[in-house]
Symmetry: D2
Subunit: 313 residues, 4 copies
């Protein structure tokens, strides 16, 4: 029986690839897609989710837009990374269907209530919607399997020296999620910076003969641009968000440590930092499984394998 998941995303190049991977596998049952404001404005991330699902021909997936801005702060977007549309690069179809009329958290609640299995939430943007859902529907906590999120870092940040983008944008929401008591898997920069896709990997994807793989190759072409800046010391582009789906499909690719993780909402230089107690210095109980290492080649192979599913058989 496939694992039921809800994707909450802000596409975003790596969100789009994550969405494509999730919908390429029989092991996962995508109950709904909700969108957060983050990589781009909420209208654009919603539109991008619809465009990707339209490309995949998955008009059957219920889609809802979420909160238009972080809980208590003004929206910050990452158009320097993702471009004007949030998905610059490939030619994507216009949306072939409309979002549901419910809000993101109402759609989540409906799907979680209706599902016989516990549902896994997979956020790959700021955690605004997830925090609101958990606060507004405490009676549904027992119906949630876990939260597998892309966000944070045990080491260095990517938006500020201390903070990763998704957590930085809405630290209050992240704080609420990490304090929720639900099982959390954190795919942070420690692992996603190892999940680099190289030029040769892109060519391998481009060689897959179907439009979905072509689109992914073009998304990666654009995503590469920002990450070629030598200051990062990268050889490729870190595929942040797809690490969540890779974890669900192939956890054996990762090494993990159970840790206490706190979210810094205060601080002059550290707002939005995930403080990861790797050495057990605080004495606080574990609240997250933190991914630290990935077998990169296996990760790339997994992506290639899933994208090949879209070719005619």
């Amino acid at each position: 029986m496939p694992r039921p998941i809800i994707l909450d995303c802000d596409p975003g190049h790596d969100d789009a690839i994550s969405l494509i991977l999730a919908l390429s596998s029989d092991a996962l049952d995508v109950l709904a897609v909700t969108t957060s404001a983050g990589n781009q404005t909420p209208d654009k991330t919603l539109n991008n989710a619809l465009r990707v699902l339209t490309l995949l021909g998955r008009h059957d997936i219920a889609v809802a837009g979420g909160a238009p801005k972080p809980l208590a702060r003004e929206l910050i977007i990452a158009d320097n990374v993702h471009g004007e549309s949030g998905l610059d690069g490939p030619e994507l179809p216009e949306p072939g269907f409309a979002p549901v009329t419910q809000s993101a958290i109402e759609l989540m609640a409906e799907k979680v209530r209706a599902c016989e299995q516990k549902v896994t939430l997979v956020p790959s943007g700021p955690l605004t919607n997830i925090a609101l859902f958990l606060s507004a529907y405490p009676e549904l906590h027992s119906r949630i399997d876990s939260i597998v999120l892309m966000g944070g870092a045990a080491g260095v940040g990517n938006w500020t020296p201390a903070a990763e983008f998704n957590i930085f944008v809405d630290p209050e929401a992240a704080d609420m999620v990490f304090k929720s008591g639900l099982p959390i898997v954190m795919c942070g920069l420690d692992v996603t910076h190892q999940a680099q896709i190289m030029d040769e990997d892109i060519e391998r994807i481009r060689a897959i003969d179907n439009p979905v793989a072509q689109c992914v190759a073009e998304l990666l072409d654009f995503f590469m641009i920002y990450h070629r800046d030598p200051k990062w010391g990268f050889n490729g582009a870190p595929l942040h968000d797809p690490c969540t789906i890779a974890w669900l499909l192939a956890p054996e690719l990762f090494t993990t440590v159970e840790c206490w993780v706190g979210v810094e909402t205060q601080g002059e230089h550290t707002q939005g930092m995930t403080v990861v107690d790797r050495y057990q210095l605080t004495g606080k109980p574990h609240n997250a499984r933190v991914l630290f290492d990935i077998e990169r080649q296996g990760f790339v192979d997994l992506i290639v394998r899933q994208l090949a599913q879209h070719s005619p058989r």
Copy 2:
């Protein structure tokens, strides 16, 4: 046409009196009552709201319980003020009806959507539910007239030297509400500490011959105990929450100043403080009308007049 309002409260002695006042006037149309965790645990404040409405014979009012705890912090309760039940003192009937099955914010959304007029929200507890409602239903902001809240202080606090209880309990929620851009009326300690009810006022209420007034007199008997501590320098007990209803019914009793108000969510000693820019030192635009003074005798007369409505005519 009466003014439609939704009461979000944590009864609490002064919340109960506030509820009674609101339901004693033809000028107000109480669309719903929702409850927050604050003066007591969420199950008790919900139960207390039902008991007060049962006393009033108002089984027609839709009631819903809200979030079980503040957004990002553990719940703090004020049982030192309000006793074990949250409404210690009078003998109140057991609830004669049940809450609706919706959550507080779903009930708010339903009532606001259905109302032809703009609705006024009247929170008299921590702002958790209001913050969640505003975040989850941005499309309904335009249907809200204003938020008339009890909370905060321009001067000294009552729970910490800097903070008033309602804001201190959930400062992140308060921050979200004050940043919402909606019109806010802040009934803080500056005015509520002037809205003291004296022993002779209680006797005046006790002399009103109906069970509602009797209940209010007994609520006040108990509420007096905490406030007789000479450290406060009070002559009576400050009727915090009923100031919101008094403002709606008789704004001429108050003096007010339009100010910028910020909520301190950080700080070592100041968390939960409402920072009120009375002298326009920040240059930030006004976001709240702050009540500073009340004509106390008129306030007491108003209460007495409303309670007399419950006597047989």
Copy 3:
């Protein structure tokens, strides 16, 4: 035997008047004058102290300049209040003598070591020098009688909604002083905003026939300008710094409460606030005597009486 004091000031109009009052009384023995950066840049406040002492003919007083900036922050000055020179208004003589070659804290240490009595420190600017002195010379703490400072507020601030200027400029230093364990008398805005000098008071001073009183009248003429802004609701100009000397000469003019006072060094909106636990809500032990009320007429009479000392007899 006169009480030995060291004045640490940032003249500044009210500092200058404070200095003049201190040097007009046989009850006080001014061991040294040190200057802090605050109302103006450190070179100007040092120069101003020398000019005032030159006017008074007190070349015998040892003067030293202190730290050029706050401990951990950039310097903020109040030239909007005190003008380009820091003492705009009267014609003051150029300095007729030079500061000592020691630093402020070395001069303080020398004077405290040499004094047979315990010494009272009287800061009327940011607390940078006092904090450094206390940290650098722990062995001299037992030689300090008390610290009588102008700074802070139990209620509303004057530089931000929450903070008074002297504490705001160097909150880390203030925090160190309030945590020092030494007896502290805090003359904050609560009392200094009552210590207003009115137009008629200035005329009374101008009628005193000596150059010192003339200078004070002219200082007050200029100082009035900033405080006439109706937003303050003042009738006159609050004579902040002279309250310290008035306390030393005539404590019976004041009402005071022993309180715990904490300095907020963090906070988004509250940095530099003195949090005064007037209602004993924190359970923390008293560390300061806070002045709350002043008998204004007595204060004005005291000033007039002291200024008359400078007239030929």
Copy 4:
């Protein structure tokens, strides 16, 4: 001409070894040793410095004790690492001479003033004394070559998940030092955790036939105990403080990056963190050279070589 340095330390095992290395080289001229409160209480760290210098027969070095506690916080000590005396393990001689009568910062000022060359400050404990010295003697900044300090981390902390001990103990002091504008070399945990001394290295030291090397071997025996906890993932014990001396003697052993470094004095989980902008995300100018990697074998060889200097030739 040897490089003039002042060591400000809190011995501490690694401080002691650092002191020994500094006094073993003709390339360095130790003008003075001052002590800070940190690894142990101020009386013990002062006593330990005197004992180590007595062992070395260096009664000629001027020693002074510094501030008894951090600027604005209570003292935290690391007796879990360094034992009851702060130098548990070897039998050290009792002090054969006394500290000077000046305070630490007065001694620093005297030595810096008297030195013809610019002086390098080498703190290996909390930065309390250095911060006080810089604040109290701004006129001597131009006489300081640089500050080569052990403290902080670009990645994970050792006292809290975010903070290294020396910075955590007195973050306000560290903030003042990093903002001083003086050239700073930061030997943080990134490099010192690589500077591990292994069991075989200790045996190599023990084989050196002189009492100083014997003492170092015994210091290392004790220092190993704390670091054998498998949670650290160490093979040996990280020789934090001696990295400062190794940098002065053999900078070619290290790789470094010029970065902006900020000290977090606020934050719920991050106080005392050094925020290192390795990826130039803040746009703030460099204020420190941060050591990132060390050639470990070369480091050990250097120690062995210096300790052999103490053998009779």
